[in-house]
Symmetry: C2
Subunit: 159 residues, 2 copies
Amino acid sequence: MTNPVTKDRRHFEDLAVGEIIDLGSTHVSKDMITSFAREFDPFPFHLDEKAAKESLLGGLASSGWQTGALSLRMLVDNFLSTIASCGGLGFRDLKWKSPVMVNDTIGGTAKIAELRRSASHPQWGIVTLDFDITNQHGKPVMTMRLANLVECRNAEALA
Amino acid sequence: MTNPVTKDRRHFEDLAVGEIIDLGSTHVSKDMITSFAREFDPFPFHLDEKAAKESLLGGLASSGWQTGALSLRMLVDNFLSTIASCGGLGFRDLKWKSPVMVNDTIGGTAKIAELRRSASHPQWGIVTLDFDITNQHGKPVMTMRLANLVECRNAEALA
């Protein structure tokens, strides 16, 4: 029953509440901001430097959705790819605290906030992660709580 | 004080709780799925059809974050670009109900759930939108509640 791809990775039983994952960092370039915005969030303040200067943001800033996507990528690289992850379930309480401006570098941590074994599906557990994303000055830019499904090593433990 | 870009658009005072925005629809191709996944969510079940068939998802499926980004784009095209929007604040309770598979067409509605004038910043109001995204069979794929900042036409109304 063990997935051959993930059998050597950490499973649900190997995780602990309170574990803090270092997400590393990502530089956010002008090209990254404008290409994401053209596809998903085509507002002048994500596309054009002059319009952005005159906007509430005061300069070219990334789509908040891009900040989330880059944070997800950092989580995949530094955590989800090292465990027996089966995919995400959803998010709670995403808050954009301050804009990510062109040439900012974002990074931060994700903390294991909850671990819950599925009652109906004993082969799976749910790990809840609290993201804390900041810019290069340590200023908070985004928080959110992600729920992700993880394989259990021993599917019969609850039976 | 009126932004010349948005002065002819609907402002906070022009919105009503209960208004339902038709988000139109978006076809999700294999290229869209794999290019988004390579950048933000590089799991085999978002990148490779064979690996995807053997996964929990049973076939190539989009990153859930991509489903959200495509829904945001539909909201920009069908609503946010027609009002005096200043940007997003965050969202609550994003849930992926079922996967978006290759060549699915997603669409749906966003409903104005709440309208709240900012007490501290009378030039702004907050519109809360409930997304209801389904696939071409009418099966729910995602729900979420987004909060967005909108200019008020009359900034002194609360003074």
